[in-house]
Symmetry: D2
């Protein structure tokens, strides 16, 4: 397994603010610069900006899409490899499980779903301008982190992913 | 469609506090008293307490399980009909989509996933001693409600579910 | 587990011949007469005829549907409990895994998928006017049976399901 | 869409004969030589031989796995990008829908499932030493083809995939 490049997912809404788009682009760039493969949900907004960032930095991008075909569920133009699942939002599970770590930018309900799925499966999550989550039982969650900048987010997620892989 | 009984999901952790167990039991009872079918994830904790409440009140219970068979993913003893999905936590989508409304008790990461999935699909959610969620964009979410008591939770979710069905 | 009624799936195309419809109706009736719960894909053709047969004989019916809601993926009128999966044809896995045995009537490509899934998971299958399947390796498959009549099909599947449950 | 390389799936059992292994290896090589990306179920047997063939010919390989993590569901050593679905055999749907055409070698029950899923979704399938399938209704299926050699199989599937993409 150690010879495969690290796979990192970027999650976030299909619609987002210009600021979130900028953050996602930089997260994608930084993931590519570190030689990791960027996974995302394959659609617009945060997903598209992150994929664009990764591609422009020479990286590889994978889109894991909810629909059944490129015709009904087209990937954004920066997706290099499109995985069509045909399982709707349950594709969030495929996205999260295929990654060693997750970076979340902004926060839709879909993003919340992915955060929950990642932590349920003990996959580290780093958030940027996203949900503020305090578990009702008050127990701190060491795998849930916040970052102030895209570079810090990618540093944190790569460190956590590499620790997990050991 | 109108002749089918209402299907309401109860979500919550496989481990929970005695207080959450009591709340879940009462939510299940109240769902049954209103003639609705209780759906849950089929396992222990909140799921088991809610199913027990529904059965003891004469209601029907359905467990939607993550595993492939009763041998590897046994339903709790209060489940009357067991649906084995074999899709792991993606079964949360099946649970949520099969319900017209969702009541959440307590809050694990799996529960967070279900809340996100329900709202993504515009299915109303009522929470009891659960996550406090404020969307990062500050927009209020009318389909996400809190209740103080099990009776209030079921009243709210049934009203929202019936409104949605019209 | 032993106290739950047996759950039997009927599989077959959403469009079918009048003869297949008649067979499916009788299979559904016979399943209900034996006190088992009928599961099916919830749609038309064989699925609808089998559900109608079960309901008219006083039995219970569950439809496991591909779509996300009753509005976009309506169950046939003989479905008593509708499970909406939102995972498309992957719902065939949920249908098959939730049953202790499967009866197939007629044969579409979807039916072939379900036969393969059932046998992959070692769930017995009885076919009526359906695919003739000979494994390329020539090994006989004891869990794949043919029947000449609906009554024989249900007898065979119930016997195989009960043997498997022991 | 047109700028993305063609994605072709190879399906077949996790255990296979030496002859099937040889065929799968050559199918994988031929897919790579044509510049297409090879998708498979990521495990052993036919899947491993096809991935090895593609990699040795300089191509790219994607494994779409049933399990939740590399630890519990390890990809074979020739998989370059591993997609972990956590949805069990329902991952066959993800595999088939992500491909523009499918080549089947040998024939297990899982392979039969994939053939059914592909044709249900109108994705062309070419078989080599695999199931002999005659639809019970006697209607010929133009999207289901047989080949005598790996080269012929890949020629047929690429032609059918390109025709479908137009």
């Amino acid at each position: 397994m150690t010879s495969l490049p690290l796979q990192i997912a970027v999650i976030g809404g299909a619609s987002c603010t210009p600021q979130q788009e900028k953050l996602a682009f930089e997260v994608g760039s930084e993931i590519a610069r570190r030689g990791a493969v960027l996974l995302c949900g394959g659609r617009g907004g945060v997903m598209e900006a992150a994929a664009r960032g990764a591609r422009e930095a020479g990286g590889r991008t994978v889109g894991i899409l909810p629909g059944e075909s490129p015709e009904t569920s087209p990937p954004n133009p920066h997706i290099e490899l499109a995985i069509h699942t045909g399982i709707g939002q349950a594709r969030n599970q495929v996205l999260v499980l295929s990654a060693r770590g997750v970076v979340g930018v902004g926060g839709s309900w879909g993003t919340l779903t992915e955060i929950g799925l990642a932590l349920k499966h003990r996959i580290p999550v780093v958030l940027l301008e996203s949900w503020q989550l305090e578990p009702p039982d008050g127990r701190p969650e060491p795998l849930l982190m916040s970052a102030q900048t895209p570079t810090e987010a990618v540093e944190l997620v790569v460190a956590a992913a590499e620790e997990r892989s050991q």
